[in-house]
Symmetry: C2
DNA sequence: GTACATTCTGTTATGGATAACAATCATAAG
DNA sequence: CTTATGATTGTTATCCATAACAGAATGTAC
């Protein structure tokens, strides 16, 4: 009845082997200053010999810090999710934290359930990378006890907001198209309840208005390439459409595909600008003009902020928005001569 | 000197409020059978009133199970990583586990360090989605105590291997191109030390040999679109190249881009097949013929396996390989008439 | 009414580490 | 030589929940 996997040795076992108290072992492993060199070496040798590994849960229990961060993302596999998650991982590792990831659907129950799991898990801080919508108040109650950073401002939680200046992103893209000579710019927006999406939409509209251009009705997708394709099938049928700002590169791929199928050439007939600059944007056909925003960087900054917030709970916590950059490639050109 | 974030109430606080012992609270929360209904309700009310949440770490400490799975991925943001991670999350949630994610570079130190962090964190099981190469033996030592599943067989750990039949994937792709009438098929492989990559390479070669075709020298990329582009610049200069099997869709995008820039039309001049069927494959220009393998599904299956292994440490654990499917789209066609 | 099983609840020990305090020893200062 | 000071190590209490055991209360069988 031998178990294949058993608990390893505990600190007291190391202590016994080294002929010291458990506390001394703890001191050695935590690099406390006042330990005699010879003792340190004996303890290290014993720990090594027994292949001892400190039990982080016991440690967390007594210190009250788990050295773990929770990150909540949506359960969809898009570029922004995965690169943000990667940034969080990397940032957390550098800061000496491990990451507990949970995913959730968009419903209020799913979101609060996910946050709840993180809180129960005893994380020291939480990064929420999802629009909370009507789950906002419930989640805020849950996170009373845990420092929290958001990467989506739609919940109205501007405290601890880390992200990219979406207003600027849309301005850059829209202006680029206008400067090329297009009369106006159409917009395939993201879902209405994402703050990023709403910010881009508002800013696109404002830019057109300020330039005294007609503001065409906006279309909406759900970030998926397929939704871009659907919207592209609509826009491609309208000859007056010569410039389109698509709220994400992934949707832009779909838009371009649909336009191509309808016989509209990119960029000769229609110019398309995406947002994000995903890895594949430079390698599409034609290469995609887009507005770069690094989600990985956002993830890292979220961690940095969160770690500061953990160390200093009462601190000021103004929004931290990075500036996106326009990347001009082959999918934009002056409008066809009428 | 008021702390903004403090520990919440403990079980004893709930017990006091409900006028029972802590053990009874524990029983109520764990749905033990022998608790009187009136007591249960009083406890529930008290817990609710105090907004009590059970401390999972204390729980894990005494039960010896953290209900947490660790997953190790590489610190690169490609499609396979993120969709596998998503599958793991979803599977874990369904199985009642939370996920601890760590990323690592390819070096032996980074890999062992990452696994080490997971073990220290007290996870109940580990999913390794990275080629271990020379870190294999060290890692195996580390995972003696923790049930482990691999999604890459290069480490020689075929025990607990979950993935997709890569031999079949390459066979399907290669045969498809041969059946279209191409004289032979060129291959842009992945990095040499990934087992997936090696399996595809071997199987591509075997398929050509069995068909009595010339086996051209293979090229290697690193899974990135950029590496595909570089290889494409080479292949596009050779007029005899009419069919290319690229080991991942992301590299295939790069290959196609390079071929286009060199004036070779897809699929009229050159046919290209990818592997993976990423979300964007259907929306590229032209849509990409590829071999579909669901990494998300692999992640889920890895969790299922792992959970079984945790419950039954001594169990048989043969490789579990899913069958990939050929998806024909617009990037393949018969060779140009010579 | 006695003997025994069941149901419900409480008490104590435990998991593995660290904080706070106490004790010892050596060295420096007076 | 005495006292203060600092370095080094050990002891005890604690974090929070659960397992194992124990006790009380109720019901059942004869």
């Amino acid at each position: 009845m031998e178990r294949k996997f058993n608990r390893g040795p505990a600190m007291r076992d190391v202590a016994r082997a080294a002929g010291v108290s458990a506390q001394t072992v703890s001191r050695v492993l935590s690099n406390h200053p006042n330990v005699q060199e010879s003792t340190r070496q004996r303890v290290m040798a014993a720990a090594d010999e027994l292949d001892y590994r400190r039990n982080n849960m016991a440690r967390a229990l007594v210190t009250g810090r788990s050295k773990t961060l929770g990150v909540l993302t949506l359960a969809t596999n898009n570029y922004s999710r995965s690169s943000l998650a990667l940034g969080v991982e990397l940032g957390a590792r550098e800061a000496g934290y491990t990451v507990n990831s949970v995913t959730s659907g968009l419903s209020a129950e799913a979101l609060t359930g996910a946050v709840s799991r993180l809180v129960n898990q005893g994380v020291d801080g939480i990064i929420i990378a999802a629009p909370l919508r009507d789950a906002a108040s419930t989640v805020r109650r849950l996170t009373m006890r845990v420092p929290t950073v958001n990467t989506d401002g739609s919940s109205g939680i501007s405290d601890g907001l880390v992200g990219v200046d979406q207003d600027l992103a849309a301005v850059l893209a829209t202006r680029h198209l206008l400067e090329l000579g297009h009369a106006t710019v159409w917009h395939v927006a993201g879902p209405e309840d994402w703050s990023d999406s709403a910010a881009r939409l508002g800013s696109w509209r404002r830019t057109l208005e300020e330039a005294g251009r007609e503001v065409p009705p906006e279309l909406h997708g759900d970030w998926s390439p397929e939704s871009g394709y659907r919207n592209g099938l609509v826009l491609g049928r309208m000859p007056e459409v010569t410039a389109i700002l698509v709220a994400s590169d992934e949707m832009a791929f779909g838009v371009i595909r649909a336009l191509s199928e309808l016989g509209r050439r990119i960029p000769e007939d229609v110019s398309v600008v995406g947002i994000d600059d995903i890895d594949l944007a430079a390698y599409s056909n034609p290469p995609l003009t887009t507005v770069r925003q690094s989600f990985e960087d956002t993830g890292r900054r979220a961690v940095t902020h969160l770690v500061e917030l953990i160390a200093n709970p009462g601190m000021d916590n103004p929004p931290d928005l990075a500036a996106p950059v326009l990347v001009v490639r082959g999918s934009t050109a002056p409008p066809p001569a009428a």
